[in-house]
């Protein structure tokens, strides 16, 4: 019997690359928490626990032509789309060279035109209509790219979720909407946020398929996002995918989730850590061993250390640079 990844056309090399990207996201994220607790960066908002959903999905897209409108936890997505650990650290330290915003936005507010990562804000779900708009533009211009947008399950209560989903459904646009359900909207649990059993139940109202899948399994996520991408490219319209996973950190560096989550619940989610689960899968299938695992981790840590040092030493924008780029002018990331 072949392994699960082979059944859907992924090679051993592919899944090893997925693992590396997941681990890179985890290690960059962990470093940011250390830097925050050491007082070196003011804020972190984390991807930890959602790397499998993010990386599995990103690998199912074409990172040389598709457009993405990620949300603030999507480090795994943007890494696969070409943002580097150095870029992420420059953003964490709010340095001038940060490609997301030149140090103007908090970390997690991704954006990089050369990699087709739409710039994002803090009010949630505003990016969903943008992804729909890019898909509309692509359809009008007869392009074959698709757009991919993500949000948290709490954000699926926003009007922009429903207005954007409906627009995409009416015009059969090539959009994939992926809700990364980590079961909490800051402190409010799923059952106090969503009246239906699943977020994906909402898809039927907008004329698109909706599925709820295991967000801890990158191969499962890849499979569903790939199917949705193929549908979209065939002109069959949008899809809603809900990945269920864990939020392994507090909402952000300014939150303490022990105030609203039970100790046993927090302890139990360690068994669902996607990095450990996927590592175990790769080992079972003879793709990863302890030696290779260490080699990969060491290689990643060199990159994370170099990115940290570079970003820490990099200059801030000049104070008066705050006045630039309100309206069209030359310079900056243009």
């Amino acid at each position: 019997m072949s392994a699960k990844h082979e059944e859907i056309g992924l090679s051993n090399d592919d899944v090893l690359k997925m693992y590396e990207t997941m681990l890179m996201a985890r290690r960059v994220d962990e470093r940011m928490w250390l830097l925050n607790r050491a007082g070196k960066i003011p804020f972190v908002i984390s991807c930890q626990g959602q790397e499998a959903a993010q990386v599995g999905a990103a690998f199912a897209l074409d990172n040389e032509k598709d457009y993405i409108a990620p949300y603030y936890r999507d480090m795994g997505v943007v890494l696969h789309f070409g943002m580097t650990p150095k870029d992420l650290m420059l953003s964490a330290f709010a340095k001038a060279e940060d490609p997301n915003s030149g140090g103007r936005q908090m970390p997690g507010h991704f954006g990089q035109k050369k990699n087709r990562i739409l710039t994002g804000s803090s009010p949630v779900t505003t990016q969903l209509p943008h992804a729909v708009g890019v898909a509309l533009a692509g359809k009008m211009k007869k392009q074959d790219f698709i757009t991919f947008t993500t949000l948290g399950e709490g954000s699926s209560n926003q009007g922009d979720f429903h207005e954007g989903m409906n627009f995409a459904g009416v015009h059969k646009l090539p959009v994939i909407i992926m809700v990364e359900n980590n079961k909490y909207a800051i402190s409010v649990p799923f059952e106090r946020q969503i009246a239906s059993k699943n977020v994906s139940d909402r898809a039927i109202g907008y004329g698109m398929p909706g599925v709820t899948i295991d967000g801890n399994d990158p191969i499962e996520v890849y499979k569903h996002v790939k199917e949705a991408a193929d549908r979209a490219r065939r002109g069959e319209g949008p899809s809603l995918i809900e990945t269920v996973s864990e939020r392994m950190t507090a909402h952000s560096s300014d939150d303490d989730q022990r105030q609203y989550r039970a100790a046993d619940e927090l302890a139990a989610q360690k068994d669902k850590d996607p990095i450990l689960l996927f590592g175990a899968y790769l080992k079972e299938n003879g793709i990863l061993n302890d030696e290779l695992e260490k080699e990969i981790n060491d290689r990643i840590m060199v990159i994370v250390n170099e990115a940290t040092d570079y970003a820490e030493d990099a200059p801030y924008a000049a104070p008066e640079d705050a006045l630039k780029y309100v309206y069209a002018e030359k310079g900056g990331n243009e």
């Binding site: 035109k113 710039t119 009010p123 708009g133 890019v134 009008m140 207005e163 409906n166 627009f167 309100v326």
Partner: protein
């Protein structure tokens, strides 16, 4: 040169820009087959097809947000809000998103979109079909707000707005649509956004206003001229960012300044104009800055008595101008 209605100049501007640039398209409620509830997009659906004159679901935040996405891709959307009063669900998209896209991405992304919306009262539109909403957007750097008063300005400014690389709010006075007529050249021209325009030269008092009120002031000025008072009238045209130089020059010219808006008085655009005059023209003023505006009630009522009470008109403007001239 053809004489045409204010609304026809707007339609013509869109038609010419859509012919010039295939990236320009219109989206909104009822803009397609019907040609808009006011007929601002009449004929465009037949000429350009349903993809470029797109009837959207009835959801303003999606109209704005989808338009913003298309603009980020590089198209030039014209997003129509059926009435300015109904723009409120889209305010998050316009203010949090469109106005900040260039700034927050350090000039990486941009958002060249036009939001068109009919505003203004005097049409028995009551609370929710009459409002002036421009002040809500007028402290949002990144946005530009244009309000033309004449067909000539409407065509030139809308074409400039469509070609602008940043988001532009384009408010059209709905009572002006078929009331105001004027000469409009058939050739291509644009009017620079950010520049006020002297609509009447005068020596005794300066009236600074915008939109339909420009015409009220012009009518009042003719009546005052019969009594020997000469009024200088400045049409702001772009109400954000304001043309500070043009305002200062117009205020200094006569030293007596009347500011007129159809909006509620407190917190309106003319408060900012007053501040510019006060900061820069103190020793040139011969009278306190005077403001004429709607009363501070939520919006104009439906009943004709109360609507008339709310609305400014040539008589009210004339009275204020005369009072200032005689100061």
């Amino acid at each position: 040169m053809a004489v045409m209605n204010y609304i026809d100049a707007i339609t013509l501007a869109m038609k010419e820009e859509m012919e010039r640039d295939e990236n320009v398209f219109v989206l909104g409620e009822d803009v397609g087959k019907k040609g808009g509830v006011f007929k601002a997009t009449a004929g465009l659906y037949d000429q350009f097809g349903e993809d470029r004159v797109l009837d959207t679901p009835l959801a303003e935040s999606a109209i704005a947000g989808v338009g913003i996405g298309a603009a980020m891709y590089g198209l030039r959307p014209i997003a129509e809000m059926q009435f300015a009063d109904f723009i409120m669900p889209a305010v998050n998209q316009i203010i949090s998103e469109a106005s900040r896209i260039r700034y927050r991405s350090n000039n990486d992304w941009s958002c060249p979109i036009v939001f068109r919306a009919p505003f203004g009262g005097g049409v028995h539109g009551a609370l929710y079909h009459s409002q002036s909403v421009e002040a809500i957007f007028a402290n949002q750097p990144g946005l530009k707000i244009v309000i033309p008063s004449t067909p000539y300005d409407a065509k030139g400014l809308l074409k400039a707005a469509i070609r602008d690389d940043d988001p532009v709010m384009f408010f059209e006075h709905k009572r002006a649509y078929r009331l105001i007529k004027g000469e409009v050249p058939e050739e291509d021209y644009t009017i620079e956004i950010g520049k006020a325009d002297v609509k009447r030269e005068g020596e005794d008092i300066t009236v600074i206003t915008y939109g339909l009120a420009v015409h009220f002031a012009l009518q009042a000025a003719e009546r005052l001229a019969e009594d020997g008072y000469s009024a200088h009238i400045l049409d702001l045209r772009t109400i954000y960012p304001l043309d500070k130089e043009g305002i200062i020059e117009a205020a200094k010219k006569t030293g007596k300044v009347l500011l007129v808006t159809e909006d509620n008085k407190e917190g309106s655009i003319i408060g900012e104009v007053a501040a510019i005059v006060a900061e820069n023209c103190l020793f040139d003023l011969d009278a306190p800055i005077m403001r004429l505006a709607g009363p501070d009630i939520p919006a104009m009522p439906y009943a004709p008595t109360m609507e008339k009470f709310f609305m400014i008109n040539p008589d009210k403007v004339e009275k204020a101008m005369r009072e200032l001239a005689e100061y």
